[in-house]
Point group: none
Chain length 193, copies 4
DNA sequence: AATGAATGAGTGTTCATTCAT
DNA sequence: GATGAATGAACACTCATTCAT
């Protein structure tokens, strides 16, 4: 029988929906169970706790972002090309996984174990950016900035601008946002005179 | 104004502490009452609900940021100078009100009334940035980007990079971060050849 | 206002009833709240947890037994008189606080913290018996047995025989039980020839 | 009988371990299944319910005690010899089946069906003692006490003193306990002068 | 103005039991 | 015979809110 789509994936999807809608604390296991059309106990058969369910979810999401971007960073590209890929892909990802991205920005800040762990995961994505920045500095293409600052800054610029549109009333025009962000990342706001 | 150390301000300060430490949902009115050395009922004498207390708090905080920055944007400055002031002041504010800024990034994303309202407030700060961008574009100093995108992007770049350091283990070196961010905002990562 | 019978004592009494009826694990806080005519939250306002409520209860009960018996052990009595007092009073106590005594025998055995603590309390009562035994051995009135063994044995003999009747269908004839137990404690089963 | 290591006996042994470690209520079917290396469903294939599993267990245990003691009570013994056998064997049994004996003292008291049934089983062992007492009274060897009181009392004395040592930190010195208890059962504490 | 005892709806979690395979 | 995924009723505990004083 091919229909082996175990309840686990149902739960997973429901969890993404509910967590992004309500946040970790306000989301209830009942919500998730109802949305997944599963008995509450079933969730606990597959996941030890709400915390663990959330953790797996975030892990999977961040991996999806990181691995997706990483796969497009080919060795033969120069730093400029790589960074452009990153800008494009992150904007693309935010459009595609809007709900997950809300979780991303909502639940990463704070001192709880969960949030620490969470930031570590995000950091693993930021490393990609940092490495490209470092590469660019070494090749002489980029300004000599602190790569960690730059990595966090670029991630934040892309994330907040994307979410700002996604949560606002306007259409998410990916191409327009890409063009603007690309220009800002590479050239800043100032025209060269 | 006589500055009576009214219970209200005690509650207000305690609320900032507790909300930033635990987030809106995990923070309890008991926590706040204890921290403020007030009976729990007293909070309800001054504020209608937890939601309202939080709302006033955030309002005050965002006003502090916005009005502080606005006060430094003098009419005689050109767009470039103004944007530099914004970068410096926002980085400064994040260092000074770290706890509040955690709240800022934590509680703004989501579909609840409270969060909508919250994003409106943040937007009122972003307008400052947008206006300067618009001014710069019109004066021909800045690239013609969408000011809303740029405003959100710059806010996000500064916010996330600041919080990234503040919540990490390293020292918050305001000047270094300012220099890096300033360069990125104005010139991007790419050297002009 | 004299009516200061705070809800706490209501809860206490209800807890004794429910715990003795159902045992620690099967008893629910809802049961206790209902029986006490109190909201469930009220219990938690006064006691940190089910465990703590139970602990205070047992502590109070064992103290009642120990202090009651101790008060009747006058210094001028000889060991034989003292031991007779103990036999009488323990039998009396079991008749009077049957419910609590069920708790006593039900919840003392096992390896959990709570049960350890519990046995320590019982031990504090057994000491009374041990001391009298020791006194009697030193005065030459009693056989030289290990006082700890004897203390536990006498406590067990009185406890189990009392509960056996109390939980059976027969009337609890305190005087008859006292006479039998008194004889067994002092002279055993065997007639002197 | 071919002695097939049927799953049933595995379950049985695991159940004894788990029930004595955690008590009836805290023990879970999962615990037992894991310990027995069986799927949870398998337990339900062999036993209708947790209650029934427990019942069979206790039945078997009490029979082991009763039949073991009974087998040593030879018709040609006089009441004194018989009672001495009982004292020795019960102390011996408690040392050997410590876990089961914890169950015995833990789960017998209370008003539930299960506990009623349980006490009946224990009573079937107490009868042995009662009968010897009755015999001794009729033969003129023993004091004329109520045999039911005496039976329960002796059972309790031996049980509690044994468990008191077994659950404490000290070594279980069977011989010493036997000597003390034997003396107390036959002669009480008081020296004949 | 201020208090804090009291409330009860709501939450995460457990676990005996069932049943399709 | 045996399995283990699935269930859902039940439970300990939390906490925003109320209200009599």
């Amino acid at each position: 029988m091919v229909m082996r789509k175990s309840k686990m994936s149902l739960i997973f999807q429901a969890a993404i929906d509910v967590f992004s809608e309500k946040g970790f604390d306000k989301a209830t296991m009942d919500d998730i169970a109802t949305r997944a059309n599963v008995a509450k106990g079933t969730i606990y058969y597959h996941f030890k706790s709400k915390e663990e369910l959330f953790f797996f979810l975030v892990e999977e999401g961040v991996e999806l972002l990181r691995d997706g971007v990483e796969a497009k960073l080919l060795p033969e590209m120069d730093p400029k090309e790589k960074l452009e890929v990153i800008v494009r892909e992150q904007i693309n990802f935010f459009g595609q996984y809007r709900d997950f991205c809300v979780i991303l920005l909502r639940e990463a800040w704070g001192g709880e174990e969960r949030q620490l762990e969470f930031r570590k995961m995000i950091r693993s994505y930021m490393y990609l950016i940092e490495n490209v920045i470092t590469e660019g500095i070494e090749s002489g293409d980029f300004h000599p900035v602190n790569p960690e600052n730059a990595g966090a800054g670029i991630f934040g610029m892309l994330a907040i601008s994307a979410l700002h549109i996604l949560l606002g009333k306007k259409q998410y025009d990916e191409e327009a946002l890409f063009l603007d962000m690309n220009r800002m990342v590479f050239a800043g706001v100032l025209k060269h005179t």
